[in-house]
């Protein structure tokens, strides 16, 4: 198992290197932050002063060298807009996003699994189509629109929930639903198809031969096997959530890293953008690794050399 983890870490490092190069290039292509900081009538001399203050006057390869060596040491540079260490700004906001993501994931699972089971058990019937239709609605509505409609209905019309921002538990409901619904369709369909496959196998027949009730057969024997593919996709779902957070956090004024990424792009804040992308990639990769290790626990057949 240790050798496997080591190999994965090496692959992860290589991957981060690729991501770092790509984001370094893409950020610079997207324009110059100076334009957004100076006044309309700033002269060339003003721009030069700012350029030097922000270290953007150095040649490109030198900036890349500073960025990469810094990244290895954990120093990801100073955010242009916040004038503070980019990593510090990121980690200041990360807990807010991490409070939301698991909730959205759990919410999506809590609905996707029963829906998937129902659709599989009553395959081909109305229940199956209804569950499928409901799940597809999840990916059919643009997230920002769903969020705004939920705010309109639940906080303006019904006054039941606060409309935005972080706060008490009631503040988490709408953002988690907006984020979670996005995953519903994929998860539900996967649970259904893998469950159908498992229900056809011999050991299910043996389980029923033991006289076990259909519920136990489905929820214990089948579901345990059916959830393995779902777990393996947790990494992908987590990455989807991280991108989904950009929209949800903007709509619900959630001070998370999702919106930080968006601000970094709009303000061409290179160091912040590079830091956010890299750190997000690290999180997604580590989640993937944890999921793969969890996979071995879930499916004894898988023993990593």
């Amino acid at each position: 198992m240790q050798r496997y983890i080591l190999r994965r870490l090496l692959q992860g490092a290589l991957l981060l290197f690729i991501v770092a190069l790509v984001v370094f290039a893409l950020a610079r292509v997207s324009g110059n932050p100076i334009d957004l900081l100076v006044r309309e009538d700033a002269t060339a001399e003003d721009r030069a002063h700012l350029q030097k203050a922000l270290g953007l006057d150095r040649p490109m390869h030198e900036q890349l060298y500073i960025f990469l060596t810094g990244a290895v040491r954990g120093d990801l540079g100073q955010s242009i807009r916040y004038r503070r260490s980019a990593a510090e700004v990121f980690f200041e906001r990360l807990p807010n996003t991490l409070k939301l993501l698991p909730l959205a994931m759990a919410g999506a699972l809590a609905i996707a699994i029963p829906l998937g089971v129902l659709a599989a058990v009553y395959r081909g019937t109305l229940v199956d189509r209804l569950a499928g239709g409901l799940a597809v609605l999840g990916i059919a509505t643009p997230q920002f629109w769903l969020g705004i409609v939920l705010i309109y209905v639940f906080s303006i019309q019904l006054g039941v929930l606060p409309s935005a921002r972080m706060g008490g538990p009631s503040h988490y409901v709408l953002p988690a639903v907006t984020l979670g619904v996005f995953l519903l369709a994929g998860m539900m369909r996967l649970v259904r198809s893998s469950l159908l496959e498992v229900m056809g196998s011999e050991f299910v027949k043996l389980a029923r031969l033991k006289g076990l009730s259909q519920t136990i057969v489905i929820w214990k024997h089948c579901l345990r096997n059916a959830l393995i593919p779902v777990v393996t996709l947790f990494g992908v779902y987590f990455a989807l959530l991280v991108t989904g957070a950009i929209v949800t956090e903007t709509v619900f004024a959630w001070p998370g890293v999702g919106r930080l990424t968006y601000e970094a792009v709009i303000f061409r804040d290179y160091p912040l953008l590079q830091a956010v992308i890299l750190l997000k990639a690290v999180i997604v990769l580590s989640v993937n690794l944890v999921v793969d290790i969890l996979y071995a626990y879930l499916d004894p057949r898988v023993r990593y050399a």
């Binding site: 011999e202 027949k205 031969l209 033991k210 006289g211 009730s213 024997h221 345990r224 096997n225 004894p300």
Partner: protein, 331 residues
Amino acid sequence: MASPGRVVLEVRDLHAYLYTRWGVVRAVDGVSFALREGETLGLVGESGCGKTMTALSVLRLMPEPAGRIVQGQVLLEGEDLVTKSESEMRRVRGRRISMILQDPQTSLNPVFTVGSQIVEALRMRYADGVDALRRLAEEALRRVKVAAPAERLRAFPHQMSGGMKQRVVGAIAVAGEPRVLIADEPTTALDVTIQLQYLVLLKEIQARTRLAMLFITHDFGIVARMCDRVAVMYAGRIVETGPTRALFRAPRHPYTAALMASVPRMEASVERLPSIEGQPPLLHHMPVGCRFAPRCSYVDDRCRREYPPVVPIGPAHEASCWRVEPSPPSR
């Protein structure tokens, strides 16, 4: 062979059909047989003749929603299983009638340990605490001759050989001390040496518990070794039933005779094994009259028009064919 006891399982004129997109597949089309305590009845026939479907319909495990029992009775110690509700059937399965499936590789749940799957079966019968059940499970494994049963309980199915897994399946099947055990080609997936050990094991279990066994196979070697009586199935129906020795020595139904002829004999050197021309009829397009008629070398137009009745031709020996003359039943 232990002296056969009272009738434990009686199937009367069982019809079980599969409703598919292309029409109704009459997989079990009027099957009747009886099974006595301590006795082993072989159910033989080419693949696709409805052997497994018969077993599944006895246990009411036909594939939903296509399969349905249309007609007939399945009397287990006098109680008709066809009319029982699903929850009543659950109390019957595993406790009074059980089954061993063909492929051990897929019969055990890969994500649970062998021990937990045995305990699960035992819990159906005994309401003891977990550790009591684990001891029972260990005992069950010892009884099916699994070495070092204590550790094996903690093993996962993929850590066991095919033979070992089939033994575990056997242990599970008899854990509830059923009165009837259906073995659906349990050794086909095993290699020959393990096959023999498994058959001996099944015989020992039967001797100890006096359970009745329905042994489904297409291998006549196994039939000769295991079965007291044999029922030959063709296209959803039993064409001949009788004591194993009688069928081997003097098969009366043309299909049984042809089957017996196509089995290679150790003693006779044979260049080419005789085989039966033609194909068994498609189960959703049954011919009128005797279903073996298209391939029978003694066919006459009567066979094509009318399905022959079941005719007693010896002690507990009967066949359904126009050429067979009835002889007075021995008892």
